[in-house]
């Protein structure tokens, strides 16, 4: 069955393509096409089951009505949630989303950016790996609509939506300190080049310093991405020997490793080891023990990003000055960060 195109309708009705196009785009009245003719066009379109070719229209209009979304990994729940929200907002404005994962790979990210521009996406939302800023600046200079999320690239000219990582971990670690924990280790993935993670570490250091606690570099541990699980175990074993009383896992992945480690070694959380982490998970709310976490406002990030991009798209290349939004996180205290002093522990055993 051959595809039905605009011209088929025109021919079978004995009118011009132009007329059909106008009618189908609801410009019939404006162009003084008689009601009767309009009706005939609509009927014929339905009869032939006409499906407009969006590509041809895009070519003519110079718009694809597509938005590109590039994230490190769409299988990551954080990004898939963001994708979903952006999708909804974009759809409402008539845009479709074309999504790809960069896998934290700079080469791949650049490739994707190029591919998406070839595809004439009207705008881009990207959670960049720490790629060369040059590409983004280039795009921006070409007047291409871009919004960065989650990972800041510190480019003033480009809109960015993220959370205040420093503030978030500062609060979380402070909570730990106020509870009574003193020897708080930091677990981070290595090499931690991402701005995000460095900021979180800064918050940790600031909290300790603020409370007059000496920062012990020996209990700040970097766990290589490769075979993270086994390495995490070794590091944690060492940390326990150093007598730490709590852990700040800089991301949820490491918190999960810590949880597994504790289970394996029969270490009670929080009695023997306090735990807080950055970036909440369902698991932390439901598991046992429940885990205190810094929660990111996923919805807000996604909404802000989508709306920002749509704004730019609406204003059409009018180069509005870019803005950087730092949304605030929310610390959710749960069981894992309750301080159980030696005394309290003994007391509860007696009861």
């Amino acid at each position: 069955m051959k595809k039905v195109v605009l011209n088929d309708i025109a021919v079978s009705l004995g009118v011009s393509k132009a007329l059909v196009s106008m009618v189908l785009n609801h410009q019939g009245d404006k162009n003084g096409i008689s009601k009767a003719t309009q009706e005939r066009v609509w009927l014929k379109a339905k009869e032939l089951n006409y499906i407009p070719n969006h590509i041809a229209r895009g070519l003519r209009l110079g718009k694809s009505m597509m938005i590109g979304l590039i994230v490190p990994d769409i299988a990551n729940i954080f990004f898939s949630r963001i994708a979903r929200i952006i999708e909804d907002i974009a759809n409402k404005a008539g845009y479709n989303l074309i999504i790809s994962s960069s896998d934290e790979n700079i080469e791949r990210e650049l490739q994707l950016i190029r591919k998406f521009t070839e595809r004439q996406v009207d705008g881009l939302i990207v959670a960049s790996t720490q790629s060369t800023k040059a590409e983004f600046v280039q795009l921006k200079n070409d007047g291409f609509p871009i919004v960065l999320i989650d990972r800041s690239l510190n480019i003033n000219d480009i809109d960015y939506i993220g959370v205040d990582n420093t503030e978030g971990s500062f609060h979380a670690v402070n909570h730990l300190i106020k509870e009574g924990f003193r020897k708080i280790a930091l677990l981070k993935p290595g090499p931690a080049h991402l701005r995000n993670l460095r900021d979180r570490e800064a918050g940790y250091r600031k909290a300790l310093k603020n409370s007059g606690i000496r920062i012990n570099e020996r209990i700040i541990r970097e766990i290589p991405f490769t075979n993270l699980d086994t390495k995490a175990e070794d590091e944690l074993d060492e940390l326990m020997k150093l007598g730490i009383d709590a852990i700040f896992a800089i991301n949820n992945r490491l918190a999960v490793s810590t949880l597994q480690f504790a289970r394996k070694r029969n270490i009670n959380i929080p009695e023997q080891l306090g735990l807080i982490t950055f970036d909440d998970l369902d698991l932390f709310e439901i598991g046992h023990p429940t885990v205190s976490a810094v929660s990111q406002p996923v919805n807000q990030i996604a909404e802000a990003a989508a709306n920002k991009l749509l704004d730019i798209l609406r204003l059409d290349r009018s180069v509005k000055s870019a803005q950087h939004f730092l949304l605030s996180t929310k610390f959710i205290p749960r069981e894992s960060s309750v301080y159980v002093s030696q005394n309290a522990e003994m007391l509860s055993e007696v009861l």
Copy 2:
């Protein structure tokens, strides 16, 4: 900065568009373009930072090199994993993915299918809500490449990849029975019109029947999608009063509800209540207790679907007879389904 198009290169080089197109598509040799000229074209293209317009090419070629993926919800980890794998495979073959969520809404799904065809996607992979088959049959008849995943629509002509739900839950419930559980309740979301879920229920019934256990309709409970959590609690309270000893949660969402319920009521799993579920989650492996689950081969499903679609695309509209693949699931026994008899329980208390 104006966009650089093919013609700009041609003009600035004093050659024809045709020549430039050939060279840039690596057809230079084939068409006898001199090496020198080819070199000049490449250099100029780089110099001008030429970016081909994929849309124009697509229009001419009648291909968009895009694949549409429609799932109920991309924020659902099951589907986002599938999306990721399909993405990788599609990318390797030069395709990009355009993804949308149907929200289990028939209207929306039909709309998306239409939108995607307007966009001239070259093929479609869809985890269909139980929408009207008519649309799919229509597309298939038009020679449009489609692969269905996860949710079967029982259309012989259309390729489908999924798992054997009946078999999967049959095994799982059997395990429960062999362990010693006898009063096994079924928890399902309602209204459960999805073929998937009905098959899982069938497996449950088959397992009981097979073991000569009477099927008690009163402990088969349907929990309305709306305010699922509160309703789940009520239902579970009733079930406990009826003296059940285990629960088969037909999907992981309900297993999570059960877990929360148990925690709230201080019910020990598995000592006081066994639990198994369909569709594994990280949470089930890490949480406490760990939860026995029927695990779906996500990778295989996604790979099979992507490859199947690419095959069809390669063969180009040659209407190969469709196939239905039913992959098998894997039951992963964990703590939640260990049977602790009255005696064993008492014994352990004494120790």
